[in-house]
C-alpha cells in the first residue's frame, strides 16, 4: 500500500484514538487531515482512510459526501465561500456574489480554468453581525463590500 497520508498525520490521529471508545470516531478528523494535506479527498485517499480505520470504503464515502466541507472533487488553490443566507442577503450578499462572478469570470460552484480559484455560495457562517462574510480557505473575511473583495482579489493575485 502506498501511503497517501503522511506519517505525521497518522501519528497525530493515532494519538487522538485514545479519546474515543470507538475507532470510527476518527473518521471526521481523518478526513479533515487528509483534505488539509491534499486540498481535496481523492477516491484513493478515501480508500486508504477506510482501511486504516477499519471501515468499509462505502461507509467512508457515505460520510464524506454528507458534509459540505469535504471536497470530493479537486478545487482551486483558493476556495472562496461567500455566505448568501438571510443576514448576509439583507446586507447585499446577492450583489456581492454577482460581483465575484463577474470579476473572477466564473459562476458560483465553478473553478477558474487556471485552477486558481473556486467560488461557492455558502450557508450561514455565524458571522451575521459582520455581514456579509466569506471564508477564504480557513480564514474569515467579514464586513464585505466591493472594495474589500477587490483588495482581497489583488492580494491573492486574481
Amino acid at each position: 500500500m502506498s501511503k497517501l497520508l503522511d506519517q505525521s498525520v497518522r501519528d497525530e490521529l493515532e494519538a487522538l484514538a485514545s479519546r474515543y471508545p470507538k475507532r470510527a470516531a476518527l473518521l471526521l478528523p481523518a478526513l479533515h487531515a487528509a483534505q488539509k494535506q491534499s486540498g481535496w479527498l481523492s477516491p484513493e485517499v478515501l480508500d486508504e482512510i477506510a482501511e486504516w480505520i477499519g471501515l468499509h470504503p462505502a461507509v467512508v464515502r457515505q460520510v464524506a459526501s454528507f458534509y459540505t466541507m469535504y471536497y470530493l472533487k479537486p478545487v482551486g488553490t483558493h476556495v472562496l465561500r461567500l455566505c448568501t443566507n438571510v443576514s448576509c442577503s439583507l446586507r447585499g450578499a446577492d450583489r456581492l456574489i454577482a460581483f465575484c462572478e463577474k470579476r473572477l469570470g466564473i459562476r458560483r460552484g465553478e473553478t477558474s480554468l487556471d485552477g486558481k480559484v473556486t467560488l461557492m455560495e455558502e450557508e450561514c457562517l455565524g458571522a451575521c453581525g459582520t455581514a456579509p462574510a466569506l471564508m477564504l480557505g480557513d480564514r474569515y473575511v467579514e464586513s464585505l463590500d466591493e472594495a474589500v473583495l477587490e483588495k482581497l482579489f489583488v492580494e491573492l493575485g486574481l
Binding site: 476518527l26 454528507f66 442577503s89 455565524g126 480557513d138
Partner: protein, 424 residues
C-alpha cells in the same frame, strides 16, 4: 444599561489566555467549590439558578442534568454543542474565541455533576480559528493540571476533546451531533431513547450549548439564587447574549438581563435603530426557524415565554431585523432554500416538502405564481410540521406559514403583478 454583565466586557483579544481567566475572572475557583459541594448539590444549585438552555430549546439545565441515570454502570459523557449554525446566530463564536477557559471550567463542573470523565466540544467545521483557540486553551489547562487525571489536584479525572464538524446545519440537532461525533452521517436519531439514557457511543450523555455551560462557573461562584435574580422574568435566570443582525445600525452581540427589554428597545436603544432610518418591516426573533413578527408586534418582552405566547420563539436568541427595503417573498424563499439544502433526507415530509416549498416560493418571487399557490404552501407546511424525526421540518414549515399569514398582501402582489414589486 449600567446593569452588571457577565460576558461582554471580556470579549476582546487577550481574554482567551489562562492568565487572564485566573486574574480577571476568578478562573478555576468555581470547580474546587463545586467538588466540595458534591454532585447532587451542584445539580440543585443549577436548578435554583433558573438557567435554561441557550441553544434554542430553552430546557432547564439543572433538570436535564438530573436525567442522567447515576446508577448506570456505563461511563457518562458530556458534550458541548458548539455547532452554532442557526442562521442569524453568532454569540457562541464570541464565547469560543474570547472566553475558552470559562467554557472549560463550565464543562468541568458539568462533567463532575453528571459523573462524566469524557467530554467533547463539537465545534462547527467553519470555526477553524475558534477550534484552534480552544485547543490552545485545553493545552494550557492540561499543562496547569486543570484537566487530566487529577483536576485541580482533586480526586476527579476529566478529558476534553475538540471534535470538528464539517459543514452540516443538522449537526446542531443533538442526536445528529452524536452520530457525527461517532464518525457517521449527521442524521438525527429516533427518540426515545434520549441521550441521557443512550447518547454518545451508547453511553448516558448530556449535550449542552456553549453559552449554557459558560454560565455554570458564575452559578457555582455566586450562587443559583443570585443568578436567578439577574433574570427580570419568571423562570428565566441570568443574562442573555443576543445576536442582532440585518438592517440595524449597530449589529453585533449584546448582553441583557433575561427578560429586561422588549424587541423595540433592543432594536432602537441597544442597536441604534434601523439602517438608513427606514421603516421596520419585520423581525425574525429567534434565528431563521422562528416564525416572523410584523413591525407592530415588537413591543413584546424578548424572552422565552413572552415570545411563545405570541406564536413565535426566542430560539438561539438571534434577532434578524428587516427594513422595508427588502422583499418578504424573496426572504422566505431564501430561508426555505436553506432548509431544503440542509434537510438530511431521512424523513420524506421534510426532504420532499422543503424542496416543494422552495420551488413554489421561487416561482412566486419570479412572478410565475398562481393564486392557489398560497394555499398549496400552507398545505405542504402543514404536511411537514410535526411529522418528522427532528425539529428541522418544523423549522422550515413554521416560517413559511407565518410569512404567508402575516405578509399575504406581499405574496398576492407578486402573483397579481406577475413580478416582484421590489425588483428593479
Amino acid at each position: 444599561m449600567s446593569e452588571e454583565t457577565l460576558y461582554i466586557q471580556h470579549f476582546h483579544a487577550g481574554a482567551a489566555s489562562l492568565a487572564y481567566y485566573q486574574e480577571k475572572m476568578q478562573g478555576y475557583q468555581a470547580f474546587p467549590k463545586a467538588f466540595a459541594m458534591g454532585q447532587a448539590k451542584v445539580i440543585d444549585e443549577v436548578k435554583v439558578s433558573a438557567l435554561r438552555g441557550r441553544g434554542g430549546a430553552g430546557f432547564p439545565t439543572g433538570m436535564k442534568w438530573g436525567f442522567i441515570p447515576q446508577a448506570s454502570p456505563k461511563p457518562k459523557v458530556l458534550v458541548c454543542n458548539a455547532d452554532e449554525s442557526e442562521p442569524g446566530t453568532f454569540k457562541d463564536r464570541e464565547l469560543l474565541r474570547y472566553t475558552p477557559h470559562l467554557l472549560i471550567e463550565g464543562m468541568l463542573i458539568g462533567a463532575y455533576a453528571i459523573g462524566a470523565r469524557s467530554c467533547y466540544i463539537y465545534v462547527r467545521g467553519e470555526y477553524v480559528a475558534e477550534a484552534r483557540i480552544l485547543e490552545q486553551a485545553l493545552k494550557e489547562a492540561y499543562a496547569a493540571g486543570l484537566l487530566g487525571e487529577k483536576v485541580c489536584g482533586l480526586d476527579f479525572a476529566c478529558d476534553i476533546t475538540v471534535h470538528r464538524g464539517a459543514g452540516a446545519y443538522i449537526c446542531g440537532e443533538e442526536t445528529a451531533l452524536l452520530n457525527s461525533l461517532e464518525g457517521k452521517r449527521g442524521e438525527p436519531r429516533v427518540k426515545p431513547p434520549f441521550p441521557a439514557q443512550s447518547g454518545a457511543f451508547g453511553c448516558p450523555t448530556i449535550v449542552n450549548n456553549v453559552e449554557t455551560l459558560t454560565a455554570v462557573p458564575f452559578i457555582i461562584s455566586r450562587g443559583g439564587a443570585w443568578f436567578a435574580s439577574l433574570g427580570r422574568i419568571e423562570k428565566s435566570g441570568g443574562t442573555r447574549l443576543i445576536s442582532v443582525s440585518g438592517d440595524v445600525k449597530k449589529p453585533g452581540v449584546i448582553e441583557i438581563h433575561a427578560g429586561s427589554m422588549t424587541i423595540r428597545q433592543i432594536i432602537f436603544d441597544a442597536c441604534g435603530g434601523i439602517l438608513g432610518d427606514r421603516p421596520l418591516k419585520a423581525v425574525i426573533p429567534g434565528g431563521s426557524s422562528a416564525p416572523v413578527l410584523t413591525a407592530d408586534e415588537i413591543d413584546v418582552i424578548y424572552d422565552i415565554e413572552p415570545l411563545a405566547k405570541i406564536g413565535t420563539m426566542m430560539g438561539s436568541a438571534a434577532l434578524i431585523v428587516v427594513s422595508d427595503a427588502h422583499c418578504m417573498v424573496k426572504l422566505i424563499a431564501r430561508i426555505t432554500k436553506f432548509y431544503a439544502h440542509e434537510s438530511c433526507g431521512q424523513c420524506t415530509p421534510c426532504r420532499e416538502g422543503c424542496r416543494w416549498m422552495e420551488d413554489v416560493l421561487e416561482r412566486i418571487e419570479h412572478g410565475h405564481g398562481r393564486v392557489q399557490d398560497l394555499g398549496l404552501l400552507t398545505d405542504i407546511a402543514d404536511q411537514i410540521q410535526g411529522k418528522t424525526l427532528c425539529a428541522l421540518g418544523d423549522a422550515a414549515a413554521g416560517p413559511v406559514m407565518s410569512f404567508v399569514k402575516k405578509f399575504r398582501a406581499d405574496f398576492e402582489a407578486h402573483i397579481r403583478g406577475g413580478k416582484c414589486p421590489n425588483a428593479s
